[in-house]
Amino acid sequence: MLEAQDLARYFDVSRPALQRLLAREPRRTLRAVDGVSFAIPKGQTLSLVGESGCGKSTVARLVVGLYPPSDGAVVFDGQPLSVARADPAQRQRMQMIFQDPYASLNPRWRVRDIIAEPIRAFKLVEGKEAILARVGELLTQVGLAPADGEKFPHEFSGGQRQRISIARALSSNPEFLVCDEPTSALDVSVQAQILNLMKELQSRLGLTFLFISHNLSVVRQVSDRVGVMYLGRIVEQAPAETLFTAPRHPYTRALMEAIPDLEMTGRARTPVGGEVPSPINPPSGCAFHPRCPLANARCKAERPVALAAGESLVACHAVEEGRG
């Protein structure tokens, strides 16, 4: 359905030209995404996890064409993304769900107009009555009442707003949905509602998901395949079961280790030290080496490439050498 080939996106974060000249600074580039490849088969969910600044949200935006890639390509159902985006019939097949339920709905619009916007833009249904009927149908589908369409976004709770967002995304009958942290702004009891709703819609409508999240537990519940990102690269990619039962990359292991233990086994955890370095000036070689317990001289000098290790793709010298 969707394929990313060596996708990269750089941002110019230099100071304004005059200041740069006065301070004799070079241009500075932020490599938000630096060579990311993955493929999502139809009807499946690929999740990208990672900490803030790892580039996962940038990937989401590249994939729906909100940013042009600096390098590499996105292929949507066999055609380059730029070609697909230019054709309304293709464009309507992809949609996006956002993180912040308070910013993702225009506060000045009624809910029915928010949901009807894609319908009008793609001219999917003609006539006022027919559009209203379709909006009612979509609201019912996400667990709200058709009468809710008359209200404004501020009259709803966070979870209900996220349902409205989903209804808007579904209104153009998409096949591919990019979900950028769709539950991280929600309370946990509401998060479960939304995750259930998304899974139910996926099996009913045969949707394909690219799911972005920082929460490993959430990712486990929704994914078929998971990619772990660190500083603009995917360091490990594997089928969900494999990744969670047998994580290979030291960073993946560190992430799982860091999650507080609800089972209260009293297990002493050893949190990974240090912090995520700046993507403007990433460490040499493997970007994780300053924090990695297995790092050696090679990790410092040479950037690892993703190699198959069992069912996983792992970019790590230690795993490759059998030290991991």
């Binding site: 729906v64 909100l66 464009r91 949609q95 956002f98 912040d100 993702s104 916007e117």
Partner: protein, 300 residues
């Protein structure tokens, strides 16, 4: 309409006596001047009705006062009250038109600069910056001077009103542009705008349908405060003699004319137009202040 009377705005309005009083005063000023032809006791422009015998009559409550001229008459026997009503009409008309002109221009520039960014933003905002370094009265004088020099006198008198409106409007737009640009920069990165971009909506529809309604709040405030400033600017220009043509005297013109008689004892000819101007500007200003506070969630 029921929605309006139920809103926080109406609620905060009813809680502030000063605001309600200013609204009443502003309403009287606007209604009184708009309906001047119906309400004014005399027609100050009807030369036939002017009696030179009635010149320099003091206000009605003084010893020589005359009940037909409540605020007295000027050197040509014109009723001061009527002249004020007609003059305020010109002042308000210029003020409103100049503000609307500045608002439209400023909002358009701000929206384009903020949403498109890059070179468009840099060029438009540098123009605004340069504009802001000149005092607005200087800009207005400059525009007026250029037009005067370029056009013959008869033509100039005909379009003088529009020149003043343009001159005042052009000196005020950067304020609107800066504010709108700032809010646009915030709004354009919000997720509802991204959602519209994902479905492939064009730049113009996004700007007009999504961004514009969400950046208008502060514009309303600046617009109201700017109305007071525009009225004052017009009065200043007219006082200096470069404003509206003498055939359509505004409050500023009346103050200038009356000024000549201030020291010979006929104070009412200039004082009453002056008081009217102050009252009008003050009430509009107070309304603007209230609107600013009422729309600012942090101060509520």
């Amino acid at each position: 309409m029921r929605g309006f009377f139920d809103s926080d705005l109406w609620w905060s309005f009813t809680r502030s006596r000063i605001t309600m009083a200013s609204a009443v005063v502003a309403f009287i000023c606007i209604a009184g001047s708009a309906l001047a032809p119906l309400l004014a006791p005399h027609d100050p422009f009807d030369l036939a009705s002017l009696q030179l015998m009635d010149a320099f009559k003091p206000p009605v409550w003084t010893a020589e006062g005359d009940a037909t001229y409540p605020l007295g008459t000027d050197d040509q026997g014109r009723d001061v009250l009527s002249a004020i009503m007609y003059g305020a009409r010109v002042s308000l008309m210029v003020g409103f038109s100049a503000t609307i002109f500045a608002t439209l221009l400023g909002v358009m520039v701000g929206l384009l600069a903020g949403y498109l960014g890059g070179t468009t933003d840099a060029v438009l905002m540098r123009v605004a910056d340069i504009q802001l370094t000149f005092p607005s009265i200087l800009v207005a004088l400059l525009v007026d001077g250029i037009v005067r020099a370029a056009l013959p006198r008869e033509v100039h008198d005909q379009i003088a009103l529009f020149v003043v409106i343009f001159a005042i409007g052009i000196s005020e737009w950067p304020k609107f542009a800066r504010t709108v640009r700032g809010s646009t920069l915030v709004e354009r990165n919000k997720e509802y705008v991204l959602a519209a971009r994902v479905i492939g909506l064009g730049k113009l529809p996004i700007m007009l349908r999504h961004v514009l309604p969400n950046v208008l709040g502060p514009v309303l405030v600046i617009g109201t405060l700017n109305l007071a400033l525009a009225i004052l600017a017009e009065a200043t220009l007219s006082f200096l003699g470069v404003g509206v043509p003498p055939t359509q005297p505004s409050l500023g013109t009346l103050i200038r004319i009356g000024n000549d008689f201030l020291f010979s004892g006929e104070w009412w000819i200039t004082i009453f137009p002056g008081i009217s101007l102050i009252v009008m500007v003050l009430s509009v200003n107070l309304l603007g202040d209230w609107l600013r506070d009422a729309l600012n969630p942090k101060l509520r």
